[in-house]
Symmetry: C2
Subunit: 212 residues, 2 copies
Amino acid sequence: MESGTLTDSQAGLHPDDDLRTQILDAARHLMVSDGYSSLSMRRIARKIGYSATSIYLHFSGKDDLFYTLIDEGMERLNRYLEEASRVNASADNVLRAICNAFVEFGLTNPEYYEVMFVLHPDTGSRYPAPKYRKARRNIAIIASALEKGIAEERFVIGDVALTANTIWATLHGVVTLIIAQRIDKTLQRNRLVTGTIEIIIAGISNPNLKSS
Amino acid sequence: MESGTLTDSQAGLHPDDDLRTQILDAARHLMVSDGYSSLSMRRIARKIGYSATSIYLHFSGKDDLFYTLIDEGMERLNRYLEEASRVNASADNVLRAICNAFVEFGLTNPEYYEVMFVLHPDTGSRYPAPKYRKARRNIAIIASALEKGIAEERFVIGDVALTANTIWATLHGVVTLIIAQRIDKTLQRNRLVTGTIEIIIAGISNPNLKSS
DNA sequence: ATTACCAACTTAACAGTGTTAAGTAAAATA
DNA sequence: TATTTTACTTAACACTGTTAAGTTGGTAAT
């Protein structure tokens, strides 16, 4: 932008009330289309016709933006899982639906998924504790399916919270490896996914499970 | 380094035969101590007293270095798993040993683990196909434990290769979430780990497993 | 012995990054 | 009308990976 030329902002193209929203929209869009690695402050700014530093008026830094996107993603995932959990079926089928929804979310929104669960910001700053709540809600959905299965005397589970986390971790493993393309290409995705889910269900249905 | 001053290299501090080895040593050391994110060409170079560009005489770029480190890590992991698989025990206990070894490797070498399985280089370049062989060897170790279990009529498995990958993905999920600190802190690591392993074993031991 | 060459390394530069400090123009307030 | 506040900007710092173009020191050939 040479001096002498009006910038977009000076030309009044930006309703100055919702710059924060514009930033988030641009960030989300860039992340989904080009991946998080090429998501830079300057790129975002260019996209919306502002200077890079103006982002710092609404976010304390890249991490802050990062965390806001995580939050958004958690909300999305939450809707996904809650809808899946509403199927009217036996506990094992409810769990199947939830698991499939989780994997589907990950595979159809890989950029969101990465930001949410894979990447951790370079700077030592950690994911703020209060924000964990939304992540926990997702695990709670799994947990409630487990409790349904226990009530139906289908599942053999000692610690529900622990098992919910285990299942989550398991699904996370499948999604991550597929996204990162560290899985043998000859292997079919859906066979891997359903295979994993079936092993889990068979595992927590097995009376011989050494439940800790 | 101002002109007029002898650089280390000019002073003959570097046996010029093994610069490549020095680079790898420095890279490994920096990665393990400061994490991959702060592993830069210039840092590596500074550590060994060369200019950054001299690295390009031995590696085509950062990705190449990256892949060499992956290779190293795979070799390490392979030794880990092979040793674990040599226990003289029933198939389920062999599998337990292998799984534990995998998780232990991941948790004691998180930086290696990340480079190997989590990060994928920003540039579109993919992990070179021939290098996949070492990764496959690790899965083969799991597979052979499964076959032992089938022979002992302990495990009910349709597709061994698929199940081996499933187990790998599962363990990967646990390791990744723990490393990325996306797991509830109140949860005890080893309970999560053993819980996951037990569900898997119970799963593949369950006659009702819908094996695909 | 002198010239040519070559290997191993260097510096300078490009285009990018996150982030901070200081400056500017317009609007709101006194 | 003068002052303060708001909403932005530019300039700069210290980095990043990578390329192009030197600069040495030693070897080989004439």
